[in-house]
């Protein structure tokens, strides 16, 4: 024992000197750090952009909206007649043709934002820095929701003029000043923003990338199909309240008895988002990591 203590006194001094030169030596004049909501937000912002998957997925989402919109429009324009599903489309509908694909990219990235931290172990660092936990969920949702909202809005507003140009002179022609067009384009951005938050919440709720994605895809793609198993009288009543249908009424040009109004659609989707967030918050606060 005695000998061992003697031997490491030399290298020990080296460590000591290194630390002492640091302006942040512990006992004297320690800087005063503090966790604030804004700082957690700043941290989540930087975490989002320092992963390659964010850039790839957001790029894909944006590309889906623009490319599929343009392809659909040129298909419509060259088809010209009532030969396919696109025949009764409008410029707005064609512009948002890629939204169905973009919502998957965005929703899955949302799941990764939270569940990815559990699968990698990053969550332990995150919650050690912010042990109150809930600010992390709010920040992740706000940051990624806002980013997805921006991506969706940019995608919609970039695609619409191109599509309008392609279909001008046809029955699908619409301009930005036409009734419901501006609302539809903004609604599309808002829809992607809320889907992003739902994905983020599902990831935090299930703490598993596979589980979160499965539920997300199920809710967005499979459950709407399942409602056809319900009795006819119920089907319309139930299906219009599903997240995907409620979202659709936010960006669709026309509405009927089987759909919600744009405002009601937004409120219903906000309700689903709040529900998912509440579940995520409960699990985050109550269960061990």
């Amino acid at each position: 024992m005695t000998t061992m203590t003697a031997t490491h006194s030399t290298p020990q001094n080296t460590t000591h000197t290194t630390t002492e030169t640091s302006p942040a030596a512990p006992q004297h004049a320690r800087p005063r750090y503090k966790v604030t909501g804004l700082r957690v937000l700043r941290s989540e912002w930087s975490k989002l952009w320092t992963l390659r998957s964010t850039w790839i997925t957001l790029g894909l989402g944006l590309a889906f909206v623009i490319a599929f919109g343009v392809i659909a429009a040129s298909q419509y324009e060259s088809g010209g007649g009532p030969n396919d599903d696109l025949s009764d489309s409008t410029a707005l509908g064609l512009s948002l043709f890629g939204l169905a694909f973009a919502q998957l990219a965005i929703g899955i990235l949302g799941v990764l934002v939270t569940a990815g931290e559990y699968s990698t172990g990053m969550i332990r660092s995150t919650l050690a820095a912010v042990p109150r936990r809930l600010p992390v969920l709010w920040s992740k949702s706000a940051v990624f929701g806002a980013v997805a909202l921006a991506v969706g809005t940019i995608g919609a507003f970039v695609t619409f003029p191109i599509v309008s140009e392609l279909v001008s002179g046809t029955a699908a022609e619409l301009s930005l000043s036409d009734d419901g067009v501006l609302r539809g384009l903004l609604g599309a951005g808002l829809y992607l923003g809320l889907i992003a938050v739902i994905g983020t919440a599902l990831g935090a709720l299930f703490r598993s990338v596979a589980g979160g994605i499965a539920v997300l895809v199920g809710v967005l793609l499979l459950v709407p199909g399942l409602t056809s198993l319900l009795p006819n009288s119920w089907e319309d009543e139930v299906s219009k309240y599903l997240p995907s249908s409620a979202g659709e009424s936010m960006y669709a040009l026309t509405h009927d008895a089987a759909t919600l109004s744009p405002t009601a659609g937004l409120l219903v989707l906000l309700g689903w988002t709040a529900l998912a967030l509440a579940g995520a918050a409960y699990r985050l606060k109550r269960t061990d990591v």
Binding site: M1, Q12, L51, M122
Partner: protein
């Protein structure tokens, strides 16, 4: 300063941590020792609020960890399992942690330098070797310039260079007046760095003691000495409070109650050449084995028994 009071964690039927009471004091290295599965990691996770205690409490610098306004400044922790996203670079990882507390970029660069990660700081952390990953974890623990540093099995899987580096780091941190709390399942490792020991087995506190006390209690500080004249050496070394044992015909003597230094000087005085002179640190290992013998989860029965009877 870490204070645990009746700290308990149950998973269903199994009690991982069982009414632990201990205090980790500043300015020393406190070793948290116990066989695998003794509840060390769970205890550490409860200290930083990752796991909630089933009952009891643990406080860091007088408050529950999550009640602090700058947690990373109170306690910096390296947990056993990896706590990074492999796709993020070391620098970005630390910077994201720093943002939560308003820790400046300068401090991030400082801890990168302190842990020798400059060359790889911009590389994806997922590509790091075990040792590099461990250094990154320690950089994260030191980021907030914390009053308390807590490391769970920091030397696991490290090469000798890395082990030495950690040892020096720990003693250096304690000298700066910080509380250092470090876990290990290896007594030999702890003996080199820790002043104070908290020994647990099956979630229960087995001993809260100092290294010296533990050694004294379990057979004392023994020194092994080999010479060509064991009988003569035995004669000149014997005195009050000195115990000497050795087999007939063997060059080796086991001496307790005298330091290696005293034995060497005595031998030189009488002109007896020594072939070997060493402190038997292994006795610490044996003390640990005795303490934890009943608390080891899985026995390699024969091995443990042999070592036990050798003591």
């Amino acid at each position: 300063m870490i204070e645990a009071q009746q700290l308990t964690k149950r998973y269903g039927e199994k009690t991982a941590v069982d009414r632990l009471d201990f205090v980790v004091k500043p300015g020393t290295v406190t070793g948290f020792l116990g066989p695998n599965g003794a509840g060390k990691s769970t205890t550490m996770r409860m200290i930083v609020g990752l796991d909630a205690p089933s009952s009891g409490s643990v406080k860091v610098n007088g408050k529950r960890y999550d009640r602090h306004s700058a947690p990373l400044q109170e306690i910096g922790a390296l947990l056993e399992a990896k706590s990074i996203h492999p796709g993020r670079s070391a620098f970005d990882h630390l910077m994201a942690q720093a943002h939560t507390h308003g820790i400046p970029r300068r401090r991030v660069e400082e801890v990168i330098e302190l842990t020798g990660l400059q060359a790889v700081a911009k590389k994806r952390a997922g590509a790091f070797s075990l040792g590099m990953g461990q250094r990154l974890g320690i950089a994260g623990a030191l980021l907030g310039d914390p009053a308390t540093v807590m490391l769970d099995e920091p030397v696991n899987g490290l090469d000798p260079d890395g082990v030495l580096w950690i040892r020096n780091l720990l003693t250096g941190l304690a000298q700066e007046g910080r509380t250092v709390f470090v876990s290990s399942h290896l007594m030999s490792e702890m003996a080199l760095v820790a002043d104070h020991l908290i020994i647990v087995g099956r979630g229960r506190l087995l001993a809260d003691t100092t290294v010296q006390d533990l050694v004294r209690k379990h057979g004392g500080d023994a020194v092994t000495v080999a010479s060509g004249q064991p009988a003569r050496l035995r004669e000149i070394l014997s005195g009050p409070g000195v115990e000497i044992s050795g087999e007939i015909g063997s060059e080796h003597l086991h001496v307790s109650g005298l330091s290696a230094r005293a034995i060497g000087l005595k031998a030189a005085e009488y002109g007896i050449p020594l072939f070997e002179l060493g402190s038997r640190t292994v006795s610490l290992e044996q003390a640990f084995m005795e303490l934890t013998h009943d608390a080891v989860e899985y026995h390699g029965a024969t091995i443990t028994d042999t070592l036990g009877s050798a003591a």
